[in-house]
């Protein structure tokens, strides 16, 4: 990797009694498109806040373009879309974009930023009159209007409808093609897969996986199986192609990418099972598998 544009070094962040980050190391180089994936409360937003200098690490260090993240020179090369932040409602879309453009040394033309965000019809509307999805597009326009080298997007697609999501995806590909560095957070694996070339999985304040989407997906279980075992010993479940097993009394919960093979093997062993249920694994299951917490006795 060339000189990292974004760097976290052993970052810990404590809010009162809660430790949101428990030692995060991350280096992101020029042109990378990175998705930070994790459930709510995993530490994604805190990580981004520390990268941006919006939060001070309790210990460890954050650098942006090799500078302190709060440095104006670093900020001038950075675009941001934050969750739960507001803009003045009495300005029009174009006025607000022009205001933000003035903060940057070499901004995009206003029309270009408006078009990239798909806000052509709303350029003259007051911000207060925008719908939730349009507001999200406006935040995207504000993030890119300074033509930043690094773009931080915290949960960018929340509140977007299907159409807006598609348009957003296209804009993101254009930005990635133009060698922009993008760091985004999401709690959807599909979204991370569609947008990013590198997925950083965060859970309970630590990075538990950092790999290309294909590798991450291969390690994610695709199915969750539940059933009851009648009278079989612990040996009945050994050596199966599963990523996690949880057994409470006669109830069994398995995570596996190959449920058919698991069933075939169980029947071959003559295990009697009932109340079988097979469902698509959700992200929670995936995290259980990745952290292997499920295999530990609880």
């Amino acid at each position: 990797m060339s000189t990292p544009l974004v760097e976290l070094e052993g970052v810990r962040k404590r809010y009162g009694a809660v430790e949101a980050l428990r030692g995060v190391d991350l280096r992101i180089g020029r042109g990378e498109v990175v998705a930070m994936l994790g459930p709510n409360g995993a530490g994604k937003t805190t990580s981004i806040s520390v990268m941006l200098g919006l939060r001070r690490p309790t210990s460890g260090r954050a650098r942006l373009f090799g500078l302190d993240p709060g440095d104006r020179r670093a900020r001038s090369r950075t675009g941001v879309m934050l969750q739960e932040s507001g803009v003045p409602g009495t300005l029009t879309v174009r006025e607000l974009i022009d205001l933000f453009r003035a903060y940057y040394p070499r901004p995009l033309p206003a029309g270009r930023a408006i078009a990239l965000a798909g806000l052509e019809d709303k350029a003259g509307a007051r911000v207060a009159q925008l719908s939730g999805g349009q507001r999200q597009r406006l935040y995207f326009a504000l993030a890119i209007c300074g033509d930043p080298e690094v773009l931080f997007l915290d949960e960018p697609t929340v509140g977007m409808d299907v159409e807006a999501r598609q348009a957003f995806l296209v804009s993101m590909r254009e930005l990635a093609a133009a060698e922009r560095t993008i760091v985004l957070t999401t709690h959807y694996l599909e979204e991370a897969d569609a947008l990013a070339r590198r997925i950083v999985v965060v859970d309970h304040g630590v990075v538990i996986a950092d790999a290309p989407p294909a590798d991450i997906k291969a390690r994610m279980p695709s199915k969750r199986m539940r059933f009851r075992l009648s009278g079989a010993g612990a040996a009945a479940l050994e050596g199966l192609p599963v990523t996690a097993v949880e057994r409470t009394g006669d109830r069994v919960r398995l995570l596996s990418a190959e449920p058919e093979t698991v069933l075939r093997e169980l029947f071959r062993r003559g295990v009697a099972l009932s109340d079988l249920e097979v469902a698509g694994a959700d992200l929670e299951d995936a995290f259980l598998a990745l952290t292997a917490r499920a295999s530990e006795p609880s």
Binding site: S2, T3, R30, L52, L54, R55, R56, G66, R72, R73, R75, S76, R77, T78, V80, L82, E84, S85, G86, V87, P88, G89, T90, L91, E95, L96, D98, L99, F100, A102, Y103, Y104, P105, L142, G146, D147, E149, E179, R180
Partner: protein
Amino acid sequence: MSAVSAGAPAPAAAAVMVAPLPRVLLTQVRSELLMRWRLPTFSATNLLLPVVLFSFFGLPFAGRTTSRGLDLGVVLLTSFSAYAVGQVMVYGFGIGVAIERGQRIDVLMRATPLPPGVYLAAKVIVAMLFALLAVLVLFTYAGVVGGIRVPPATWVSVTARLLAGSVPLIGLGFAIGYVAGPNAAPAVVNLVYLPLAFASGLFMPPEQLPAFVQRVAPYLPTYHYAQLAWSAVGAGREPVATSLAWLAGYAALLLWAAVRAYRREAERKFG
């Protein structure tokens, strides 16, 4: 970004890699002006309320002469100008900052390259412009409707004193804005500013106030603010230096309170 800008920029190159501050400030001022103008809470209250109050408490006395031989209409016009400028500062910063905090506008602004000093400077400049406009509207109204004529030099002197002496009120506004929530702020500024204005004799001559209020008044910032303005029309009861000293002391105290409130908030939100 071009490949040329990759790698560590030379110090000279780094210097041109931020937007020029005058341009940032100008754009910020223009936006703040638009925002304030479009919010009737600010624009209507700041520009019209002093006119309405002056119509009730000032105009009826136009043409009368005070015991010291001054034109009472002019003295009262000065009082309401002080009320108007103080209101722009206390309400504008008190309610404005509370609303921005409530809507989390401050969070996004903090992540942009906009330097906090420029953000603050733009707010103060816009408040000064509104205050200037408020005084202009009041003097024009008094002249046209009440026939109260004031020499331009007096107008300039009163306005300059009111703007220069408003620093403690800016501090008061900021302190309230960082402590009160967006819903409480309008109530708090009214509960703080109206009694201050009343007790300091901005609405009626201090001699007509209850005795205990008259005893407390000389310790209030707005009392010395009023004295500073009155002395421009010969109605002051203390030397200008005394008014300025009191205002400087209150400015230090209230700005300290504002900075403290700001730091506490910043620690919670950005610590």
